[in-house]
Amino acid sequence: MSIGNYPLHLMILVLLWGYIYTSWSVMGRLGMVSFGHGAFMGIGAYTVVMLWNHFGLTPWIGIPVAFAATAAVAFVIGYPCFRFKIVGHYFALVTLALSEVARLLIVALRDYTGGSLGATPVTALSGGSGVALGALQFESKSVWLVIVAAFWLGGLWVWRAVDRSMGRLALQAISEEEEAAASVGIPVTAAKLRVTLISALMTCAGGILYAQYQLYVNPDAVSGIAISLQMVFGAIAGGMFVMLGPTVGAAFTLLLAEGLRLAFGNKYPALDSTIYGALLVLFIIYMPKGILGAALSAFKGRGR
């Protein structure tokens, strides 16, 4: 192997979180700020691991089940929200409740899920075999890099497709003036629901990748308010209105954490999140377009 395991691990994490933040921003940038994406990630991660551990069902069956569950939850939450025009911070708080519901459910079902201690997928990597395709477990980090990179590219493609579609223009109109958009014949509920389903399913896939790569899940790492906020802020820090913004957000947070860890060792735990938190506040006040968004506008401004 040419690159060491550690840089490889970092690259995988940047692309994986870049993909997840991109998934969030598919709907977040259109004025639907969801604090509930932790629920979709949790459904993905836990459905696949639980079916594998308790029923011996291969992830190849687990994945469609997780997708179906995610779509159902996204519909049950999304449809009434959009139908009854729950927007802005009301939407944020309803979805926040959803992410807590998912976390509480995982913790409460501790007889099966292991509760707060988390769960480890039963290993299929025995007898020196580093690839278990049926169990979706791979020992080699290079394999994971390829898989995660493929999803990340796919995520960017979806982002772009949504961006270029007529639906995006409709949604932008909706996010600015919902009543007016409805009055000119835009099917508000259907348009919002479609984007929500896309975003939720992408996030669910991210949860599955996370669980299969780390080979460990716990309720706080894949669901609940903390992880939902992490997605929101990752996308905002990088810039949710440009395609690569969420990825830049993921790279920025990870490099900040690793850089400080290399500089100070483990002497100052949480120094990175303290700085990150302070930067977030400054970003939202002074640079709401995020790092990449602001950099691009500055670049364009000079070119003119």
Binding site: G31, V33, I77, P80, C81, F84, K85, I86, G88, H89, Y90, A92, L93, V94, L96, A97, L98, E100, V101, L104, L105, V107, A108, G224, I225, A226, L229, V232, F233, I236, Y268, P269, A270, L271, D272, S273, T274, Y276, G277, A278, L280, V281, F283, I284, I285, Y286, P288
Partner: protein, 288 residues
């Protein structure tokens, strides 16, 4: 057997009542701020955490008498509330409403991480344990009774303040019409700052009561933050009476749910109930 069952159920109901008092106190400040400034402080529970650390630090490390430590904590959190408004909320007051929500989310991240940096992830206990009160075969925590009393007192004082004083009247006027009041000679900026300090002081008061029941640690805000927002929204953001009712309703779901199943199921039911109510009545129980 069934009699025994009933008395435990009654105990759960009464404990739910006490928990409701605590929730009502928790949501009081947040609700006031929302009603007046129209901003949701997502980091409200983290302000409470700061107050809890202040009580712990002054009392345990510097050996202040506990009441003095608590008074100092209330003043400190009130100052934090005012600072939060001045330096974080004010610059985004005219921005998209969602930015105001997000910026306080950034503060949540910051306070949580800063607490980890400063105090570590240890659970810290002030070492004051109040006895439990026994009534017949039922037992209640005195700390919860105290919290209930403080919540009732807090709501009464707030009500009196808003209805009977000049400042309170100005605050209510601003919350009814943000555009007109400045023309009438009410300085919105000053009222917002005062309200924020008042909201902070209520967070400080909640901190003093919570620290008697729970150990303080950097992630404690996440454990009761979400339920606090849900209470405010459920009651109708900005409606103090609605928030009070919602606090007791959700507390009963949690307490009775926890009695029949496990504690998480109680919260689970309360959160699902919240989502369902939002769909039926998005403006909350007593919202406008």
């Amino acid at each position: 057997m069934s009699e025994l069952f009933d008395i435990y159920l009654l105990e759960a109901v009464l404990n739910g009542l006490l928990l409701g008092g605590l929730f009502a106190l928790l949501s009081l400040g947040l609700n006031l701020i929302f009603g007046v400034i129209d901003v949701v402080w997502i980091c409200y529970a983290e302000l409470i955490m700061c107050g809890m650390y202040a009580v712990y630090w002054l009392h345990v490390q510097y050996h202040w008498p506990v009441l003095a430590a608590m008074a100092a904590a209330i003043v400190l959190v009130a100052a934090l509330g005012a600072a939060l408004h001045q330096f974080v909320i004010r610059p985004v007051l005219s921005a998209e409403p969602i930015n105001q929500l997000l910026v306080t989310g950034g503060v949540l991240f910051f306070l949580q991480a800063a607490a980890t940096l400063a105090f570590g992830i240890d659970f810290r206990n002030v070492g004051i344990s109040l006895p439990s009160v026994h009534v017949g075969e039922m037992s209640f925590s005195a700390a919860r009774l105290l919290a209930f009393g403080a919540a009732a007192g807090g709501v009464a004082v707030m009500y009196f303040f808003l209805k009977r004083t000049y400042l309170g009247t100005a605050i209510r006027a601003i919350s009814q019409d943000r555009a007109i009041m400045p023309l009438m000679g009410v300085s919105a900026g000053r009222i917002f700052l005062t309200t924020s300090a008042l909201g902070g002081a209520l967070a400080g008061l909640a901190a003093c009561l919570l620290v008697l029941q729970y150990d303080v640690h950097p992630a404690i805000g996440l454990s009761f933050g979400p339920i606090t927002f849900l209470i405010c929204v459920l009651g109708g953001l900005g409606s103090l009476v609605g928030g009070f009712i919602a606090a007791f309703v959700l507390a009963q779901f949690i307490s009775i749910g926890g009695f029949f199943f496990a504690a998480e199921w109680g919260y689970f039911i309360a959160f699902v109930f919240f989502i369902v109510v939002m769909f039926i009545r998005p403006q909350g129980i007593l919202g406008k």
